[in-house]
Symmetry: D2
């Protein structure tokens, strides 16, 4: 899907506008059609507002059709049959195309239970989640009544759409759909930012295998050149951030025990606000460390 500038979307034909935005809401071009009436848009925010307004004002029948247009999560048959390119990329981003058998079964079990109860698929904005948090969300929502879940589904659909709009449309303004996870290592033994510390961010999973999100080395400011997660939501879930501090101090000839008291320090924490800025710093000597939720 090639990006469009807001100017192009304002200037192009109605047909091209609808074609460009047809899959912002999964297989539901009628939403783009409604929004087309409101052109031109001063920014991507009013554009997106026009699309969600169309959803808000739609009949309950149309809203239900919108919900039903979505695929089941992690469904092998549907994947074979074909999802929109957007759905496919989103599900892959969270690893739903690389599930362990145990995970597949867990997803399938709850998918089926959900569809059996409500008659429509379980929908969640997967890019805001890890596999663990999707399953937890599943289990929390299953006991709800149909009206609550209809509303929840629309909310999740709008979150999915916002991320798709953000990726598609180039504009001076931005939707607030990205978060950030960053770190900072301060060497309180020498009173300086710790440069050259190897670190690794892992997404922990209760059910399947943990997976490495990113590896990095701290720069002269004790930070990573790029935030650990940026330009996308920070998926809700459990993480472990590990710092190779003994290597760092050994390279500086700091006396340590053998084996070193602290070697690879793990910080284990959860992200709960995908659009927020989560800062997890480390203050460290060979004999002590501290961390906190920073800002």
């Amino acid at each position: 899907m090639s990006q469009k500038t807001l100017a192009d979307l304002n200037a192009c034909s109605r047909e091209d506008f609808v074609a460009a935005l047809a899959n912002i809401f999964e297989y539901s071009p009628w939403i783009a059609e409604k929004a087309a009436d409101a052109r031109p848009f001063a920014g991507v925010k009013p554009l997106f507002a026009a699309m969600t307004a169309a959803v808000d004002h739609a009949s309950s029948g149309l809203r239900l059709a919108l919900i039903k247009a979505h695929p089941d999560l992690a469904d092998k048959t549907q994947r074979a049959a074909g999802l929109t390119a957007e759905s496919s990329a989103e599900q892959n981003s969270v690893g739903l195309d690389r599930l362990s058998d145990a995970e597949y079964e867990a997803f399938e079990r709850v998918n089926n239970a959900y569809r059996a109860k409500f008659g429509f698929p379980y929908i969640v904005c997967v890019r805001r989640h890890t596999r663990d948090s999707i399953l937890r969300d599943f289990e929390r929502r299953l006991p709800n009544d149909a009206s609550t879940e209809t509303q929840k589904s629309i909310e999740e659909i709008c979150r999915i759409a916002a991320l798709r709009v953000d990726q598609l449309v180039i504009s001076d303004d931005r939707l607030q759909v990205h978060g950030r996870l960053s770190t900072h290592v301060l060497d309180t033994h020498s009173g300086k930012p710790a440069a050259g510390i190897k670190l690794e961010l892992i997404e922990l999973s209760a059910l399947g295998a943990s997976r490495v999100v990113t590896r990095a080395i701290t720069n002269s400011d004790g930070r990573t050149d790029q935030p650990l997660i940026h330009g996308r939501p920070v998926p809700i879930g459990n993480y472990e951030l590990t710092f190779s501090t003994a290597d760092y101090f050994a390279a500086r000839q700091v006396p340590m025990t053998d084996p070193p008291f602290l070697d690879r320090i793990p910080l284990r924490f959860s992200a709960s606000d995908p659009e927020g800025h989560l800062h997890v710093p480390l203050l460290v000597t060979p004999w002590s460390y501290a961390t906190y939720r920073g800002s």
Copy 2:
């Protein structure tokens, strides 16, 4: 092996004395015989000093025989054939009777290499070590020359003997052969010791499976009723101590995110001084924590 009081050992017949202490040094009753001449002993320290003096003053032939009297570590054939009860218990204490195949192979490989080079078995006081640190010690000592290793072996044999004496002899004085690993949880959110925190101490292994050393719950002073390790050496090696802090704060209705920013906090550290006191405390709020090597 039933315990003896120092008074009994001073008062009993020479034969009984030697019989009681025959296996303090593996299959080497001649050391107890030498020591018998120095009776009575004012304490277990002079008793043990008399035994090590006998070793120090022995001919190099006798010393080599003492070394050769020891079994290979983790050797299945020798285990079947029979170790002294002491050797067997010691090797089991470090899990040498429950090695994974990979670990067995690693041990066998180095055992053989060591015996091939020096003509006598690799000896180490296993109760002062974890499996990982034994393998590391192995690898460090293998490049040594024979004279260095003869000396090292005698040192390790004396450490083994000291622990056996400590277990066997009841006396007012004690050999300094035990260490201690302790913790303390301070809740800096409420300014009080954290009572009721579940914690778990795990011995980490690079090669085989990690194993739980102990589980405990903090008492009203934020400590465990017993130190995590006590009454024995603290084995050299890598550990993870995990604290279930989210359960603790949730029980006190402290507002947290969902999922909680910190849930089960792991402290990963190494012990390097088996006879020392290692204190690893945790200062914690739902949003921050710190640890340090305490005393």
Copy 3:
């Protein structure tokens, strides 16, 4: 006033018993007389309980007389005329004999206001307070009604009496009338207790001059040989505890800036529970420090 053993107090004549305890409650021997009936006592706790029971069961007239038997705080005229030795020592302990003019005036003003309102002197157990906290207590109690203040006065009188009993009577059991203030310095630069750190505890005063409570040097365990305050209540009030850390690190050749980033570190805190154990440790490197209310 010479100390008495509990055995002596149980065995001596009724006259001697009353004489010994006559001033436990200021100029009120009738309380000791009542308690004498309950001899012998199994410990100092039942002895003190018998005395407070006598106060509790006394007529309101007797209770008021007990209150009025007490001197004004920091009153120069009464001091000249003569207090009991006990009152004098207590008032001196908190520095009431060395007040600045501003402090004298403050005390006198509130004393007079209190006596004018209630017709009896303001009574407080001064050994549990600093000058600042006495003035604060004064101001809080002045708005109370007479019945509340009668009760408060009796409570304070019993606290004074408990401390006097604790000083006078030697027994296997002890009244819980002492607190403790302690510290501990951990050098997280080298991972060891910080030995040889000079420290100073100052009682801060909003009104008059601050005064040094104690000076000490940390021992090899990073502690002071004696707690900073012990064997008496920890007076409610504001304190500053200062640690000369730059001298310590300079003596160990640790590189620092010029002037050192941290030189004499002040911890400023309040004590609020005179009978509790307040522990105020310092974790320190040349570039960082932390403290917390420990236990």
Copy 4:
């Protein structure tokens, strides 16, 4: 002294150029004259480099005259007779016009000793110092030989000149003559930046009175809207930064003792690098706090 743009200085007459820069080096227009030959300048850095090159290449006689053109520090007679406006402002900035009698005497004593030994005034770039650090610098330099002090004087003169050029000339580039002192308060009780904390920065003085440098209130990010010191060097010296944390927690209904364990928290530290960025954060709960030299 009105500011000039670099463009103006490049375009104006030689006379105007020299007039504008005549007092960059105290009463020494010959330096501006030399620099005028090198016009036009691509930035303020090459302009300043041209001026310092003129000093470097000057004869030793001229360099000595430059040194002697400077006034004594804190000299009442010279102040009456008239300093350059620049000198006067600089000396006032560090409080040299408001010295206590003890300070005046200290300055006078060392000034005289210095002039007696070297035959020229003691020169230091006062805007990089506090009164305490000037006196310490004085004492360190007095034992030097004349050649060392001639060189030191020229260095200090160039530092003075750099700050004057920075104030006078408007250019796209900037000389690196400013430092920064900043803070950040993180409330680890609630896991958020602490907003609304009152704080006060005091310059401590061993000899005279301490003085308030600035007061501020933390914003929603836990920072001050402006760094505590910025747009100028951070004077070498001792500081106390005090945070009113009990007010903050009380406003949030956090339970505390009475009086609060921590009320106004003082951090006492030194600045040693006037052109650096010194960050002194506070991590705080009602029961604990930590600080470190950040970046």
